[in-house]
């Protein structure tokens, strides 16, 4: 069975995000693998431990994704594929999804795993987009993925702790919420060693067109900095808290 993990890197939120002229200076920012994609990779590697599957990490060459792919190999992925073409850091998710979808179809991937979301997917999440483009069965916000014959089972999470166990016929696309275990650590030395001994497979790809949206401006929402203070009157404070929770829909009933 063939599993593909679709990965992308995103700006490191640890770094302060500076906005210049209503846009992000992406070229000056440091990038890290999207944390949910890391979860998806871990889940795939755990699946590999319990079933006969081949795990391929796939990323689009929008900048420096080599390290991310080598890291996936060092962690235990069987193959790492870089979709190459003329792609920039700002490649919208709609076009990314097209590239991924083409690859998955061409390679007859059975199970596609990817992060349920990423911090920058303004125009749709990769899992749903790829599923829609390929017409595959899909589910997002899932964990606990297992292969059973030509089916995959997983648990989908809903708000309030409710869950459902589902079964999907392959080919299927899953948006991973969390792996069963925290993503494994891989030492720097191991990644370096893989860099020397393994190569990334490069696949030429062309994005084509997709319905896109136009961003007018990007900005920082008003900063928090310090708590808004409610003073020292117990009743007034209790009242404010209840009102806040009502506003935020955090109260039951």
């Amino acid at each position: 069975m063939k599993i593909a993990v679709l990965m992308k890197d995103v700006p490191d939120l640890v770094e302060e995000l500076e906005v210049e002229d209503g846009a992000l200076p992406l070229d000056d920012m440091s990038f890290v693998p999207s944390e949910w994609d890391d979860q998806a990779l871990e889940e795939a590697l755990l699946m590999k431990e319990e079933a006969d599957v081949e795990v391929t990490a796939v990323a689009i060459d929008t900048g420096d994704v080599d390290n991310m792919l080598f890291t996936a190999l060092a962690k235990g992925a069987d193959r790492a594929v870089k979709l190459v073409g003329d792609f920039s850091r700002t490649l919208p998710n709609r076009l990314r999804a097209r590239l991924f979808a083409q690859y998955c179809q061409a390679q007859a991937i059975d199970v596609v795993l990817t992060g349920v979301q990423a911090i920058d997917d303004l125009d749709g999440q990769i899992a749903g987009l790829v599923a829609g483009l390929t017409g595959r069965a899909h589910a997002s916000v899932v964990r606990d993925v297992h292969i059973e014959g030509s089916q995959v089972t997983c648990v989908q999470e809903y708000s309030g702790g409710k869950m459902a166990e589902m079964q999907l016929a392959v080919p299927a696309v899953l948006g991973i919420q969390a792996a069963r275990k925290p993503p494994r650590y891989v030492t720097i030395a191991k990644v370096r060693q893989i860099q020397k001994s393994a190569t990334l497979e490069e696949v030429e790809a062309e994005a084509g067109t997709a319905p896109l949206v136009t961003v007018r401006r990007i900005y920082k929402p008003e900063a928090a900095g310090h708590a808004e203070m409610w003073g020292d009157d117990v009743d007034a404070v209790a009242e404010s808290i209840v009102r806040l929770l009502e506003d935020k829909k955090l109260l039951r009933s």
Binding site: G161, V242, K248, S253
Partner: protein, 318 residues
């Protein structure tokens, strides 16, 4: 604007608050341009729930496989509806269902999409949406093209106050060929509490002063439907088990609401909770560093506040 199609979600026989919010804004947008509002809902139970919703038409999908959410069945039905009605705007909540269906519907129908919407308004001739990106650190104002699918973060604006009496149309549910729901599990209760999975944490620190006061925290957590967590000294004192400790040497949590009660906000503690969506801190010391990460704060005695708040919450429910 033509038709606004809203995908409704029901909860305990009512339309969810999030759906009510979509209806409210959908109606405003439609009204401004003489358009209509159509609701798409699933299952027999939905019929009662949307009887007085402020919509023109409500399509109820009925048949096998709609009682419990099944992405395939729901998506097939919605795709047919969209195909059939060609709405100018499709609104979903950014819930599990919205995450599942929004993007796939958009891709399938080759429609543009805007995700994580927190505001939606008309400006001159264009429809605009604010999308919350980068973990809420940035916002983007986006033009919403005609026919777009937009998923909206619940709680972004107030719910509709208005009501109506939509015309109810029936639609038979499509068959599920590939996806089956095997079983549904309700929220786990009892057992060893996992504070990392709780939506609401009532977290207590040394300000609690005495283990007997834990009862106050328990009652408050119960009234809020949350779980009690704590800072390290509370664990050290043996008042709560280590599994409840938040921070560097404990758990990292990201609840929807973090109540920090009598916690000073040492860096080791902050490391474990600073990414909570909403932080409310109560500490008698106005200079406590916890207020630097909290969104709201108050300088009252937690031993007074906890019972007062519990009472208020219970009064509200009863």
């Amino acid at each position: 604007m033509g038709q606004v199609l809203i995908v409704a979600e029901c909860q305990d026989g009512r339309l969810s608050d999030a759906t009510q919010e979509l209806i409210g804004r959908g109606r405003e947008l439609a009204q401004a341009t003489g358009g209509t509002v159509t609701l798409a809902a699933f299952g027999e139970g939905a019929r009662d729930a949307l009887r007085d919703a402020d919509a023109d038409v409500a399509v109820v999908v009925n048949g096998d496989g709609v009682q419990q959410y099944n992405p395939e069945v729901y998506e097939e039905a919605l795709a047919a509806m969209v195909e059939d009605r060609q709405p100018a705007l499709v609104l979903l909540s950014n819930t599990t269902m919205g995450m599942d269906l929004g993007a796939s519907l958009a891709a399938r129908q080759a429609r543009p999409m805007v995700a994580y919407c927190t505001a939606l308004w008309r400006d001159d001739d264009a429809l605009l949406a604010t999308s919350q990106i980068y973990g809420g650190k940035l916002a983007a104002d986006v033009e919403v093209p005609d026919g777009a699918v937009v998923t909206v973060i619940p709680g972004s604006w107030p719910a509709a106050g208005s009501s109506g009496s939509p015309r109810i149309e029936e639609m038979p549910s499509p068959a599920a060929a590939h996806t089956r729901v095997l079983k549904v599990m309700e929220a786990e209760s009892g057992g060893d509490v996992d504070i990392t999975r709780a939506d609401i944490l009532v977290s207590v620190g040394r300000g609690l002063q005495d283990p007997d006061n834990l009862e106050l925290a328990d009652q408050l957590a119960e009234a809020l439907g949350g779980v009690v967590s704590c800072s390290r000294p509370v664990v050290d004192a043996g008042w709560l088990p280590r599994s409840r400790q938040v921070g560097k040497s404990g758990k990292t949590v990201k609840p929807k609401l973090y109540f920090a009660l009598g916690i000073s906000g040492a860096p080791e503690h902050l490391q474990g909770m600073k990414d909570a969506e909403l932080i409310v801190a109560v500490n008698s010391d106005e200079n406590a560093p916890i207020f630097e990460v909290a969104h709201y704060g108050a300088t009252v005695d937690i031993l007074d506040l906890m019972p007062a708040l519990t009472e208020r919450l219970e009064g509200r429910a009863g």
